[in-house]
Symmetry: C2
């Protein structure tokens, strides 16, 4: 059982830290984007160095006080706040936001965990390189949180998940042990890969304090198109065609259903739809091309080849940066429209690519007897990652379906699981999906996870209640 | 303390397994390529199913009998044999070599751990895809061993290390627990990443029995060139130039020193040198290009741009498959020439890319007072991974330097470590570098490694003596 982060503990901890490191937590630390939970905390610590983080962790471990790491507070599964139980200490890395080094000739950047993702992207651009992690919250999320959650986003297809963008980590284990692994090496087989164990563990095994990140050359040209496809199977065939013709140059491949534009028309009518009438299915394709390939030609050739095979029926190709931004803006506003409509249940799922058309066909059937719903299915098709979200019929509200919300979620997740998919694709487990992990997780994997958690965090101070039930 | 795999234990185990699963170990299981060690073993088990592997592991765990996993026996650091101590059971996966499934539309292949790497490559080619892991022993090493060791090879620059080519694993933990993680998902954040913990753990945490692997489109055209560079710095600048111009299409970038060709002339005189007189430094570049880029033009443009910057002085561009194979053959015969000369000490090291020229300049100095040596420095420059090997002067033998061998190794490794490098880049730790890991490993990382090892393998049965000292 953990102890609360109370005045007596804070008085002791204050004596070990520089002035100003500890304070009462403002409201922003105890809220999360979807408003599902309210957090509790005895204080927020904002250390400025890894040594201070180590001091904090060792003190919390000795006193059996919970620690909830806090990045940018943008997580969607409640990993960043603890709603019940003995008040923990919030550990915010926001003051550790420095650039430790830029090595463009190595395609490497070393940054502290509290750097905002947009600043990481800017530091890379400053040295003529690309840091490809791109997601909606990039203006406020922090790279340490992206790493802890193994964030996804729109460029995973080409550049991988956050874990694939990390060469090394500096981290602090629950007992205050510092792991100094800020390697800039591309090959290093000297011992177990702690980096990948910490990445995606959502702050339950330790705290990431800095990372060395992979950079990439900036493509000479970027081309964006919104293509109309007759069905999800055609979208997958188009993906295969694009990959075969432009191996490694397809930077994004996003599926969009008509519902997304319907929702935009309903909630943000100033945004103009790209087609009239609206087709059922579209894909947003981004190519990043080297010098020597004429971008419009590459896209036109792809379109013609797809047309020959019946995989596309119409399309808009951006001919300027402004048009490209406008197409991406359409895609990026869909979550905002979703929020305004108000989902009965949202699902961040992934499937084997070839199972996706079947899932899209079957999923509405498994919830059909629970009510009359609208479904907005969109997301990172290239990664097999869909946001399959269920909404009330027009004129009704999510509140009208509160009683079936859990049933909707369970039936969708059961279907995903039965088809070899994951119910925690890119947003993680957090506190929202603890029961899902217990239900769907491989029993052998859960045994190993519990053993590792007990080994590295024997008192269970790290992010209590997240990922694994206590 | 472990118990030997003796007759009494084997009699009990035999009753739990199908006939023919256990036998006396032939000599091939107890030897390794460099002839440094002779292994001991009570028997070799060749299970045919994951259930049989689980039975074997559970029995060994209960009886405290060591288990040494055996893939293709090609490892260079002694991870596959135990030279001393209570005789372990050798666990060979060679009968588990089936294709479990091919999904070209998902760029995924699911294979059992005992499949020979060349067969994995062939299964991928059978469905029109590329499995890019390419290394000298591919005709006999097995994919389970490649995964356990996180093998590198010549295509890491473009496609990553073995861990980057794996989507999911089936594995058996030391107590017989089966972890069923053969996902074909590109995004899955449901819990800790056991896959990456097992990959690279060299059989010390469990046994990999099957894997789902990432495939890639086959490039429309491949072009190979051997280019002469004035110095290692120029080679690195050429790499940067190539990456900027042909982002993601540089498949290999291998550094070759004149010594490699001198050794070939000395030991395999039938192999003709590509230049006369031989230059000091060369790079072997492989481009893998999509349709729409004319290969010779791409290479010619790269050469001209490099020439303008003074980064190349000469070159041979292969104009046929046969010429490309001949250039690769030169590169691949260098290790054979090394073997015939006989190294005083071989170093599989990696460095931050920008530190490489400095290392190449300084390394000969740190061993200068230990004798008169020849150095052959070659390897995967694109990954910062050099094979920096020390040889006796012409007419002398490695035996003449036995007394300084350890000093040579330590001084080279000390230098690598001081420059932020790794002394176990792509071959792993095995038993050869256990002391190096203890010496150079981050203390915090070692603490965490020991905790994880104790949690997953409390009796220490898995590959005793490998990676971590007992």
């Amino acid at each position: 059982m953990l102890n609360p982060c109370d005045t007596a503990f804070l008085d002791r901890l204050r004596g070990l830290l520089p002035e100003g490191c500890l304070s009462a937590p403002e409201a922003r630390y105890l809220e999360e984007p979807r408003g599902r939970w309210q957090g509790v905390a005895g204080a927020v610590a904002r250390p400025g160095t890894v040594a201070e983080v180590a001091t904090i962790m060792a003190a919390c471990n000795a006193a059996r006080v919970g620690v909830v790491p806090w990045g940018g507070g943008t997580g969607l599964v409640g990993g960043q706040l603890q709603p019940t139980g003995p008040a923990p200490l919030l550990l915010s890395l926001e003051r550790m936001n420095r650039l430790r080094g830029a090595y463009p000739e190595e395609n490497t950047l070393v940054v502290e965990a509290g750097m905002v993702l947009a600043d990481v992207q800017a530091e890379a651009a400053n040295v003529g390189r690309l840091f490809p992690l791109t997601l909606a919250s990039q203006g406020s999320c922090r790279i340490g949180g992206n790493l802890a959650a193994n964030a996804g986003g729109v460029h995973v297809l080409r550049y991988g998940n956050t874990r694939d963008l990390c060469l090394g980590l500096e981290a602090v284990l629950p007992d205050g042990t510092v792991v100094s692994g800020l390697t800039r090496l591309r090959k290093d087989n000297a011992g177990y890969d702690l980096r990948h164990l910490l990445i995606g563990s959502e702050g339950t095994l330790g705290v990431i304090t800095a990372a060395s990140l992979r950079l990439f050359p900036i493509p000479a040209a970027t081309l964006v198109a919104l293509l109309v496809v007759p069905a999800p199977t055609a979208a997958l065939d188009l993906l295969t065609l694009a990959q075969e013709r432009l191996s490694g140059m397809v930077s994004a491949f996003e599926l969009i259903h008509r519902a997304g534009f319907d929702f935009l028309a309903e909630t943000l009518p100033e945004i103009r739809a790209p087609f009239d009438p609206l087709p059922d299915w579209m894909v947003l394709v981004e190519l990043g091309l080297p010098a020597g390939i004429e971008p419009e030609m590459a896209m036109a050739n792809l379109y013609d080849a797809a047309d020959d095979r019946g995989l596309v029926t119409d399309g808009v190709i951006a001919t300027s940066h402004a048009q490209a931004d406008a197409l991406w803006h359409l895609r990026e506003m869909i979550p905002e429209a979703n929020r305004r409509i108000g989902a009965v249940s949202s699902h961040d799922i992934s499937l084997p690519l070839s199972a996706i058309p079947d899932f899209i066909a079957r999923a509405p059937e498994v919830i059909a007897d629970l009510g009359v719903f609208r479904v907005n299915c969109f997301g990172h098709l290239g990664d097999g990652n869909l946001h399959w979200n269920v909404f009330p019929a027009r004129g009704r509200s999510r509140k009208d379906h509160e009683d079936v919300r859990d049933a909707v979620k369970t039936r969708v997740h059961d279907l995903v699981h039965s088809m070899g998919g994951s119910v925690a694709a890119e947003h993680g487990v957090g506190r929202l999906k603890v029961a899902d992990l217990a239900r769907y997780g491989d029993p052998g994997k859960l045994v190993a996870m519990r053993a590792i958690k007990a080994a590295l965090d024997p008192h269970g101070i790290m992010n209590p209640g997240a990922v694994l039930a206590g």
